[in-house]
Point group: none
Chain length 521, copies 2
């Protein structure tokens, strides 16, 4: 893999900025683009059929634990890929959702692209949905903007790109399969050759934590080692509706912490002002961990952060600043570190309280001194942070505050030996990942995306959230770029999940460009 200098990225960003107003299908560089022309013509002629195929897939329930329906998703994907001449394998592991693997070799192609997406979806509570989550329904706009239900279009009928399709996994994450296969159909019809071999990997338990993905990748390394770069098709585009590519994610690891007072609840009158209250003990401990500007006070917490390279720094500086609007939307006057930009803050590890509890509040409050106080802590990790090491630092901080560390509730002898005791329970976690922008295949992906978007594509060094991207980087040692297509307001994970058709169309355009992007710069 040849490296190009980061100045090239800067140049590209600048070119994209200048070209942001150019109307597609001309590329930002002003040249007519045959792939884009072909996929758009195909989509305009076949819109009703594309939506039909997408709806068929969305109609299959896909909660990872629902093995019967998971098998139906697998069968649908297998048939859909096979129909296009893609060689399919169904990978299985005991107790795991199958992986649908597809292989398409292109004569003379010098490069192989991996296309990752997941076909499972978040659990649903149908009572909270306006329309049934597995009965895909078309609306004329977002329901919160006055959209109303309408029939799916007949062949040849005009389709408004502001229409939205409502169903679980419309936004997260069944669209990538449809967009890639539609782009393939369109390019074949226009006799435009692909420039890469393709490897599809559709996972079926991403929303359940991807617990078997590492085992799948490891045991099928022989199949996957030929892949030069991964397109990780998931997540939303920027809140401004502009196209974006994302080059990393934060890692995550949790730790539950309990501190102790007396061995039992005490009457707060008879013992209050004498017996230590563990809720105050916990408050002091938590206050020692983070100052009121959000700086983590744990020693060495920021030491292992890997700084951004110049390309990432330049890309970050080009991301539009949407913070003020976001604060307003969320009802916040101030955010951490004196309103530092969210993109900057996400480049640091976080120490978050997921929840805390002691005694009772409201109806359940009693006049007692609680006997324990607990908190669920979470560290989001950035590139350079080793998950276990980060929790070691937090544990060292707790020790430094005078706590004796235990891994189960202390017995009486332990209680009587140590004035301050903290029980720690760690959960498994995984590290951050970041793909360098200074790699030529990544440069090609950026260019292809900018052509599809016809605008200044946003390049985000990292998402704040976590995905098991590190597996692709670490196990397969290949670049992985997150290629989102969904609208940011797609209500992913919640009720009334939806995809805006303009975003589905963008996804097809994007796949048309990515499947035909040149190998050489």
């Amino acid at each position: 893999m040849r490296r190009f200098c980061s100045a090239a990225v800067l140049l590209l960003l600048s070119a994209l900025g200048l070209a942001a107003q150019t109307a597609p299908p001309a590329s930002p560089q002003g040249k007519t683009d045959p792939a884009l022309t072909a996929v758009r013509a195909y989509r305009q002629a076949n819109g009703a059929r594309i939506l039909g195929e997408f709806s068929q897939l969305l109609a299959i329930p896909n909660v990872a634990s629902d093995t019967k329906n998971i098998a139906k998703n697998v069968a649908f994907l297998r048939d859909t890929l096979t129909r296009r001449g893609i060689k399919v394998e169904i990978w299985e592991l005991p107790g795991a959702s199958p992986v649908v693997y597809g292989q398409l070799d292109v004569p003379g192609a010098k490069r192989t692209l991996g296309i990752y997406a997941h076909y499972d979806g978040q659990p649903i509570d149908p009572k909270q949905w306006a329309t049934p989550p597995f009965s895909p329904t078309l609306f004329t706009a977002a329901t919160e903007s006055g959209g109303v239900k309408r029939p799916f279009p007949k062949p040849g009928e005009a389709i408004d790109p502001e229409w939205r399709i409502y169903a679980r996994s419309a936004g997260d994450d069944k669209a990538p399969a449809i967009t890639a296969l539609t782009a393939l159909d369109a390019l074949r019809q226009a006799k435009i050759p692909l420039t890469s071999n393709l490897r599809f990997l559709f996972e079926g338990e991403e929303e359940a934590g991807s617990g078997n993905l590492e085992a799948y990748l490891t045991s099928h390394r022989d199949r996957l080692n030929v892949i030069d770069a991964w397109l990780f098709c998931d997540g939303p585009v920027h809140t401004s509706r502009r196209a974006q590519l994302v080059f990393g994610v934060r890692g995550v690891i949790d730790m539950d912490l309990t501190v102790y007072g007396a061995v039992r609840y005490l009457h707060s009158g008879h013992y209050g002002n004498w017996a230590p209250n563990p809720a105050f003990t916990l408050a002091h401990l938590l206050a020692s961990m983070k100052d009121d500007q959000g700086h983590v006070l744990v020693d060495h917490f920021y030491d292992s952060v890997e700084p951004l390279g110049p390309a990432e720094r330049a890309a970050l500086d080009a991301v539009p600043d949407d913070d003020a609007a976001l604060r307003k939307e969320l009802g916040l006057v101030e955010t951490e570190d004196n309103n530092a930009r969210i993109e900057e803050r996400l480049l640091l590890p976080s120490l978050n309280i997921r929840g805390m509890a002691s005694g009772g509040i409201g109806e359940t409050a009693g006049n007692i001194i609680p006997s324990t106080a607990s908190v669920s802590l979470e560290v989001r990790l950035v590139k350079g942070n080793e998950p276990t090491h980060m929790l070691d630092l937090v544990e060292a901080h707790i020790k430094k505050q005078g706590f004796f560390i235990v891994d189960k509730d202390p017995d009486m002898a332990t209680r009587l030996a140590h004035p301050k005791i903290a029980k720690l329970a760690r959960s498994p976690g995984y590290p951050a990942a970041r793909t360098s922008m200074d790699v030529d295949i990544v440069f090609q992906i950026i260019q292809a995306t900018s052509r599809a978007a016809g605008e200044n594509v946003i390049l985000l060094p990292t998402l704040g959230g976590s995905l098991p991207l590190y597996l692709f980087n670490d196990i397969l040692a290949k670049p992985a770029v997150i290629v989102p297509i969904a609208n940011h307001d797609d209500k992913q994970h919640g009720p009334d999940e939806n995809l805006r058709l303009a975003n589905l169309w963008y996804g097809i355009d994007l796949m048309g460009e990515l499947l035909t992007m040149p190998v050489e710069k």
Copy 2:
């Protein structure tokens, strides 16, 4: 009411000290005591029946808000008193638990005693109980000391005084009704006359704050004005298991506090390290209120404390120091203020956390930034503290930390105008109270109690807990002495509340002595 000098109290304390080893039923003065002999003989012959009557009362659920079951408690008490020829009135006020008032006039009695207890209990969380809270269950000892369940005794079966009866309100506060009525039965059987008229007052919402007790006492003043002294039957004996009388209580007032983050739960990945976490905000606020030695840091918090008089100080100095044993029992190495004595600490106002909550912990923890964090604060008040003023001081402290104070959840405009917002909700509270020891009827009560206990009775100027004693002092202007019988380790207010039978027996002995104590010194 004649006053005697505090030297008399000191003399009495000293006499009791010398007599501490004397075996009952001889009094500390060495005389055989017919009342004590009578109630003990009666109790030995009727132990199973007494426990049966107590269990019947304990089996009736008694959370003050449960009006249907509150009515069943009222009916039970009414029938139980009526059966003994006590004239019963049920006092009612809209929205209040009824008061069960009982009147027993004794021919020739020159004195009237008021007997106060409450029949309601603290709210329960049945999941936390080893046995159902309203299915009274007998154990061979405290469960934490290896006690095992056993059947209630058959008539005539020997009863171990270390057995414990487990049920809500076993310790707090259904036993006094049973002990007083059993003593009455015993004295009647032995034909020993009472020396006082009796007035029973059973309250049904003490654990809910006694919000209507003032109205009840005021509106029935004509009935109550004849009472010369109140026996306030509640609270535990000393932690050393020695008998005690208590001459005061702390007051109490609560305040719920909520602080705010974003208007909704946020994804902790996408927003963590940028959006403020209200759980950390709360931790900082709480840490600012109390140092790690338990000193409250709220300005002027200790300014209004009224010092003890010389009699109280002398009595306090005579209280045995049981702190080391208590710490050991509770699994504590250190208590607040460098192990300062509990009796001294209870002479100061406390700032307690009853409970706190934010987000979820354990199974309910999610990868989110909570949108609120709440705490239930409680101030225990001592003589001199005005309840509202003490919360004013806490509120001023919160303001001083930069919070804007609201009384309901803030709307968007309020959120966007203030970086730190705290919602405060005060509950009604009441002040501390203290009865003078320098009154002759109090002297008689001290002597009667010492006879029942057969030991050096502890005289405590104040309990740490709270009771609406101030109403008896302030409205009725009569001395009120707290006459506790429950074991200190009765887990009152928490799960697995229980009463040790030795304490129930002591309660019957005590009532036998109090109902027959001489009018003249």
